[in-house]
Symmetry: C2
Subunit: 337 residues, 2 copies
């Protein structure tokens, strides 16, 4: 069966294409009678507007891309959920782009060889340098998520990582722990995320008159519970002794819990543990994970606000916004008695 076009509806309804278009898009100034007639024709013919044609005519796609390394990481999955909902409320659909934390993939995202695929981009880089990001095509509104390098020309939303890391660390200190370790930074090529969290970890220790012991910093090969479990297991086996671990993220925390248990130690009795992201399962593991909880809702709304400004033509300097966080205290590092 042949495709039904706007023109067909117009002919059947006995009006012009413009009028049909007005009805389809809920343009207010259409007489009730005309609207009725047009709607009958639409129903009778089973007409559906062709999105591609509309996109070409308007120059807008109604879509934004959400790019990050890997949706299967719980934090990104939960972020994607919120983005899809919030974007939907603003009339946007979400295109999913995974980079696998690969530099080339990230470059492809930012310098897409094609134009007009999406109206804007929400991007959490993992590898690209700030300088490279600064050179991205100016025709694609962009908001960066997370704490990796961001040029001053580009908008960005993140939480205060050093502050949050210091809070988590002080929480362990308040529990009387003194030999604190850190788990989950990269073995090589330290990310800015890890750098900032380690900085907060260090400042809190120093604020308590303690020093960071490099021997207690447990790097991991990748962002995964498995990798953290291996690394922490190896550290403990090699004689590393700690009474608390600040973990870079909840996956590292979950892996750390496992390694600690396998070493025959107890959480939090022997080793207290904090995570980061407050993923949904953090409250349901055994023990549950005390975690830094970013205000993801605020993060996403702020990011979409910034993007909306850019879509609206704003082209000032990049705005770098901090959003809130809190430490959610659970069993792995309980409240001070």
């Amino acid at each position: 069966m042949p495709r039904v076009r706007l023109e067909d509806v117009a002919r059947v309804a006995g009006v012009s294409m413009k009028t049909v278009s007005n009805v389809v898009r809920d343009y207010p100034h259409v007489s009730a009678a005309t609207r009725q007639r047009v709607e009958s024709a639409i129903a009778a013919l089973g007409y559906r507007p062709n999105i591609s044609a509309r996109q070409l005519a308007t120059g807008r796609t109604g879509m934004i891309a959400l790019a990050f390394s890997d949706v299967s990481l719980p934090y990104f999955a939960e972020l994607a959920r919120v983005v899809a909902h919030a974007a939907g409320e603003r009339g946007f659909r979400v295109l999913l782009e995974q980079t696998d934390a690969d530099l080339d993939r990230e470059r492809q995202i930012l310098s897409a060889r094609e134009a007009g695929l999406v109206d804007g981009l929400l991007f959490q880089p993992a590898r690209m340098s700030s300088a490279e990001i600064a050179e991205h095509r100016q025709d694609l509104p962009l908001v960066l998520l997370g704490e990796e390098s961001a040029p001053i020309t580009v908008d960005r939303v993140m939480i205060d990582n050093p502050a949050a890391a210091a809070e988590a660390t002080r929480h362990l200190l308040a529990l009387g722990r003194r030999r604190l370790g850190f788990v989950g930074h990269e073995v090589s090529g330290l990310s800015r995320t890890s750098t900032l969290r380690l900085a907060g970890f260090q400042s809190a220790l120093e604020g308590a008159g303690l020093a960071v012991d490099p021997a207690l910093l447990v790097a991991t090969d990748e962002i995964s519970a498995r990798s953290a479990a291996q690394a922490v297991g190896a550290a403990l086996a090699s004689g590393v002794r700690v009474d608390g671990f600040v973990c870079r993220d909840d996956l590292a925390a979950i892996g750390t819990v496992r390694a600690v248990h396998e070493a025959g130690l107890r959480v939090p009795h022997d080793i207290a543990i904090t995570g980061w992201d407050d993923i949904s399962l953090a409250s349901m593991t055994h023990p549950s994970i005390t975690s830094v909880a970013p205000d993801v809702r605020a993060l996403v709304e702020t990011a979409l606000d910034l993007l909306a400004d850019r879509l609206g033509g704003f082209d000032g300097l990049g705005r770098h916004q901090l959003i809130g966080h809190r430490l959610v205290v659970r069993e792995s590092a309980p409240a001070v008695a």
Copy 2:
């Protein structure tokens, strides 16, 4: 700065639009010299093809939609990861659609008021009836994922749920467990997924000369670890005694583990537990979760194959394909000694 069009490139390169188009799309029959000239012009002008225009001209968008209830559920997040990768390899981008298991949202997905947004749809329904799905617009190639109702006119990919549930159940029986419960089916409005898994559970019990004890079936309000923990906790508190639980999914299993621990019992010593989906964290919880692992890679490739057939014009009856699964044995229900 004004947008650069194909025509501009053609003028600068001194060739026709057709030739530029050929170069852009890597059409083979272009002389090296011409190609070189065109590419210089493209680089000089910073030309990027406009996707919307191409979509309108070709009638293809190069995008497929992936629709299910909620990306933040680990199974769907992991599925989305595989879909995005596999689709990418086939030249498709993925549009994310969440239904929140809401009937109206599901209807919207299937009867999108607009045409030409995506070339095809991968959809895991949770609420729609088979009859309703059968009436979907014929102009949108569709492949269903999962075991919910599927009309014979539509393609669908799933695993053999009763068989897998029976395997999990027999695994518990082989461990000597005799009072087996089931966790995670819906309190009301039993889904087909739950129905099939319960059927396998029952058949395995009956195969061992046992009967299902309705008192040991623990329904949950929603698909979440929290909901399962509450329901199982309440069941145990009310005096329900079991030595094994087959859980509808890994989230239910994780919540069940937690509830069992809170009740002062041990897993698997007192109660052995199996989950379903083999989500990434199933191997890292404490104890790790024995789980039914669907072959997600095969599921996705098969679904994309079926979709490709439809995109290629195939319009025969729906093909219903079963893909493989296996029981991954871990600590929550270990191997028989």
